[in-house]
């Protein structure tokens, strides 16, 4: 016999899994600091890659100038001009990312709590050994 209540719970669980996604549910077990740090680091790496590509595009654009003035270019000044904006962008990116992922962690956490609540409700239909109880009214362990 199909247990309607159990089916409803399983539908809700499936909906949460579809909405949140596997990644968000797996990250639900992270500590807040770990979650924020890992995502901030990932964002910094992304921006660093983008910055390196933009620099490469600028370099390609000015390739003629660089070849002609290869010896006369002030490399100290050039390094300064490259790295100072990079450091500033990285700091800015870290601040924005940490604020954003802090908020996201709180929001995701609330949704994951609801998901786990449904899982607990479903768990009542199963015995300690993990097998489904014959009588659905029995809550098992």
């Amino acid at each position: 016999m199909v247990n309607e209540e159990k089916t409803r719970i399983m539908i809700k669980i499936a909906q949460y899994e579809a909405d949140l996604g596997e990644k968000v549910i797996n990250e639900g077990s992270y500590y807040k600091t770990d979650y924020v740090r890992s995502h901030t680091l990932s964002a910094i790496l992304s921006f660093s890659a983008a910055y390196a590509l933009i620099l490469a595009l600028i370099l390609l654009y000015n390739i003629d100038y660089i070849f002609v003035n290869f010896i006369t270019i002030n490399y100290v000044k050039l390094c300064f001009e490259i790295f100072v904006p990079y450091i500033l962008i990285t700091i800015f990116c870290a601040i924005i990312s940490s604020i954003y992922f802090n908020g996201k962690y709180k929001k995701d956490r609330e949704e994951i709590k609801k998901y786990y609540l449904e899982l607990k409700r479903l768990e009542k239909y199963y015995s300690v050994s993990g097998k489904e109880t014959a009588d659905d009214t029995v809550t098992g362990a």
Partner: protein, 354 residues
Amino acid sequence: MTQLLVLREQLQKFYQRYTLILSPLFRFFIGFITFYAANRVVGYNPILNQTLSEVISGIISMLFPAQVLLFFVSVFIVLQIAYVSYYLAITTAMMFAVLYFIYIRFVPKHGFVILAMPVLYALNIPYAMPVLMGLVATPAAVVPIGMGVVVYYLLLDTVYVIGTSTENNINLYKLLMQQLASDTQMYVSIIIFTVVTFIVYFIRERKADYAFEIAVVTGSFLNLILFLVVNYLMDININILHLLTGITISCILIWFIQFFRLPLNYTGAENLQFEDDEYYYYVKAVPKMSISAARKKVKRFNTHHNVEEEENLDTTLVQQEEDVKENKGIMSEHDFDFTVSLDKEDLEEIEKKN
């Protein structure tokens, strides 16, 4: 309007029934259109620029998740450009990578807006996107719309540079960047689309009746007027006929999308007032338009066979079924067909006799 609502209902039921087949079919169609549009803009490679390759690409995008389509299209475009210039292909790939690292990676849904803009440009209906985004999204959608416009003009300028330049070296990239930076039409399009998105969003947020419909029409008119004014003032060579047809088709398309998304019955709107401990509420509730298409049985009788089939028909057909049932004996013996047409005078005569 009733017929449209019935059609909407029937389409929804049809989609629900065949969702397993229709969902991958839609993905194939979107993939096919995207690769078709890419070929129309930068169709250099003779192997890739043919219907078969578009179909195969469509099938591939049908089999993979939707996000992968963005990657496939980027690779497809880069391969097309690589056929004529490796330098431009590498720099284009680098630009796509930058776009991914700084934006699409964080807001993947906006990636589809960026992708849709060049596709819509190729189909001559880019004017639909700012109106649609104003209707369904927030003003933040101007960022992916603007990026989409830049990507389209980047491809267009790539074609221009390849067509006009005689050399094939890294200078092509320099020429491309100079061409892109001086492309007035691109800047104008970004500004106009931004204005249209904001205005459409502003109107649809109002509490006025038919706010969504007004927003669609206003957005389309605004597109037309702004492009015409800018074309007159700055002489940016916009084809007026293309502009008119594009905006008209966009307006009709968005109106249909809006109708199928959220049809509201403003004549049935109710103004409610109630209170709780902290607030007094003035609420305007607008019912959604819906009509349930009735399922009727239509029986056909003739001498050879007796077929029973089910069709979805309008409610006025219910009586016909009963009439046919009553005449079953006669109908089964004869196979004939006739039509009776009554005009006003005939009807009046019948009424008098009764």
